[in-house]
Amino acid sequence: MAGVGTAQLRPSDEVLLQVTDLYVEHSAGRRRTVRAVSGVSFDVACGETLGLVGESGCGKSSTARAVLQLPRPTSGTVTLDGTDLTTLRGEELRRVRSSLQMIFQDPLASLNPRRRVADIVREGLDIWPDHRCLDADDGGTPAPAADRVRAVLDSVGMDLDEIGGRRPHEFSGGQAQRICIARALMLDPQVLICDEPVSALDVSIQAQILNLLEDLKGLYGLTMLFIAHDLAVVKSVSDRVCVMYLGRICEIGPTEAIFDRPAHPYTDALLASVPQIDAGPAVAGDVLTGDPPSPFDAPTGCRFRTRCPRATERCAEQVPELSEVSAGRFVACHFPLTDEPAHPADDDAAVGHSTTPTSP
């Protein structure tokens, strides 16, 4: 995995957001460099949800922040609606940023505890007053800011009169996340970036927020970049999924196809690790052994090879490029798990040791 290449990109006039050859590197002192993201390319079409999934340290959050230019990526381009954000400076960048909004994992930590909810949600409008129109085509008389605040809070299931005067600590995690979502929607963003938006929430609240995001996507025609480590959560909201490992893309493609038939050994292992309710007693066996290597000294070649059951010498020498295995599906692996009937034994060898049942 851990592949590079841009074969997976669609023509740039069909997509809203395009990220090409993104590198994010941080200096960590003593001349060491953390390579958080290394050569990642993907695109998101208008109205589409792309799920970014992977374990901690795989670079999914770094990728999201690089899209927002927070901080600016080490190299690579981020193109939003034809504008390359990495070349913008100062006022130009500030102007573009209002159309990219983000919601974070810990909603209470991302709301200013000293301000009232109505002010928090309205702040974007105070800075960008021309976003007051609810619909661009309703003639142009800007609606009062309070109406816009009311409408947006209403769409996330909250009532301005009831909660507008309260402060963040009075809310539970789920409600605070609704406020964060309302704040993000205030300026009619073109792209909403959700970084683990439900992982800090209780199970029963998680479903409320996921359903809400799906509703809002329909209502506002949102394009979303959705980051989560929970595969089931990613599957439930995404149209396409991008699986990352140690700063590189393993595979990218339509959600159903990837979950039904993972082509990259890492995706396969990840899916096999998810505990499943209807699968009976858990089957012991190390799907993957050990921990991911440190991003300080990522393995040469394919970065997954140190934990991959299929790795060969070639994987150490050559970085696999993303290549199309079926319509719209791209995999960065020299030995992808495709169903070649000629080598059924290969597939067994790759996953076989994980299917040996132990006595219950």
């Binding site: 789920g174 199970v203 479903a207 595969l231 009976g280 050990g290």
Partner: protein, 362 residues
């Protein structure tokens, strides 16, 4: 299998724990009872504030005496451990009953090498020499699957990865060969591939040592494949208790059912509409009369708002639930149908046609 005359490893009878807060007493655990036999695993499932961790800490005697009050009986191998003297109890906690916590970084001492932390209990309780404790620590590290244990013994917690730290915590817990291991969200802070490794490890060690294990988690899917019995908690009370297989084939309590249906599953198609549980978790300091789940429950009837349903079983089997109108029974389905027809429940919850139907697919 199990000899029915064998003394159960852990018996908990009517455990109640309350905390003193500024807003008055808060009943975190309210009448929890269960029995756990040797070699078996009990799953305890609930959301935050359900009392699952408070139950574990009450059993382990880990709550601060000043601000909390616990009543009820805890029998470890037939011995009432809540009435032991301080001197006696010193060799019970951490020795016969041990615990693994969610966050290994805050449970390990950052300035002591892990080898010494593993050996500490052995030196104190088992009076082993420093060398003997060191040798045993090395064996334990091997047993929990840490490669190159010799080198790791001398390392500090920050030098280990999250998964390795949790393995070290397990080694610390197992050092004195406990009969009971309580694991409180042992994998919640870990990545999914590491989670599987740790759960496999706990399973293997439990089998090898024939320990009794309590696995506390918010994740129903973790419980599904890894436990023999399950208790589901809500607002400090057990709302459903059943052998795992039976629970997943027939969920009786509307909360268990709603919780299960609200979880996104990898086997569902993308963009499946999730069933949601209306409202929010109860405020334990301001619980009214009646069933704590009634305000969020689609089955709620007037009786639910007045009386607290006891935990009881009908089929003469091991499965029990605390609900007057359980799912999958005639009275329960009738209650649900009546609420749907009225558009609202007795507790005032509006039932939208779609929300109540549950499996409506977008």
């Amino acid at each position: 299998m199990n000899d029915p005359h064998e003394i159960p490893t852990l018996v908990v009878e009517d455990l109640c724990t309350s905390f003193a807060t500024e807003r008055g007493p808060l009943q975190a655990v309210d009448g929890v009872s269960f029995t756990l036999r040797r070699g078996r695993t009990l799953g305890v499932v609930g959301e935050s504030g359900s009392g699952k961790s408070a139950t574990a800490r009450s059993i382990m005697n880990l709550l601060p005496p000043g601000t909390s009050a616990t009543t009820g009986r805890v029998l470890l191998d037939g011995r009432d451990v809540r009435s032991l003297s301080r001197a006696e109890s010193r060799h019970v906690w951490g020795v016969e009953a041990a615990m693994v916590f969610q966050n290994p970084m805050t449970s390990l001492n950052p300035v002591i090498p892990v080898g010494r932390q593993i050996g500490e209990g052995l030196r104190y309780h088992r009076k082993l020499s420093r060398a003997a404790a060191g040798r045993r620590a090395r064996e334990l590290l091997e047993q929990v699957g840490i490669a190159d244990p010799e080198r790791r013994l001398a390392e500090y917690p920050h030098q280990l990865s999250g998964g390795m730290r949790q393995r070290v915590m397990i080694a610390v817990a197992l050092a004195c060969d406990p009969k009971l291991l309580i694991a409180d969200e042992p994998t919640t802070a870990l990545d999914v591939t590491v989670q599987k490794q740790i759960l496999d490890l706990l399973d293997r060690l439990r089998q090898q040592r024939r320990m009794a294990m309590v696995l506390i988690t918010h994740d129903l899917s973790v419980v599904a494949g890894r436990t023999d019995d399950v208790i589901v908690m809500y607002a400090g009370r057990v709302v459903e208790q059943a052998p795992t297989r039976q629970l997943f084939s027939a969920m009786r309590h509307p909360y268990t059912q709603a919780l299960f249906e609200s979880i996104p599953k990898v086997t569902q198609p993308s963009h499946t509409r999730l069933r949601i549980i209306q409202g929010r978790p109860p405020d334990l300091a301001a619980l009214g009369p009646g069933c704590a789940f009634a305000p969020r429950c689609a089955h709620a009837q007037p009786r639910c708002c007045r009386e607290t349903p006891p935990l009881s079983g009908s089929e003469g089997a091991d499965a029990r639930h605390a609900c007057f109108y359980p799912a999958g029974t005639t009275v329960g389905e009738a209650a649900l149908a009546a609420n749907r027809a009225a558009g609202r429940t007795a507790a005032g919850l509006a039932l939208a046609a779609g929300a109540a139907a549950g499996a409506d697919v977008a």
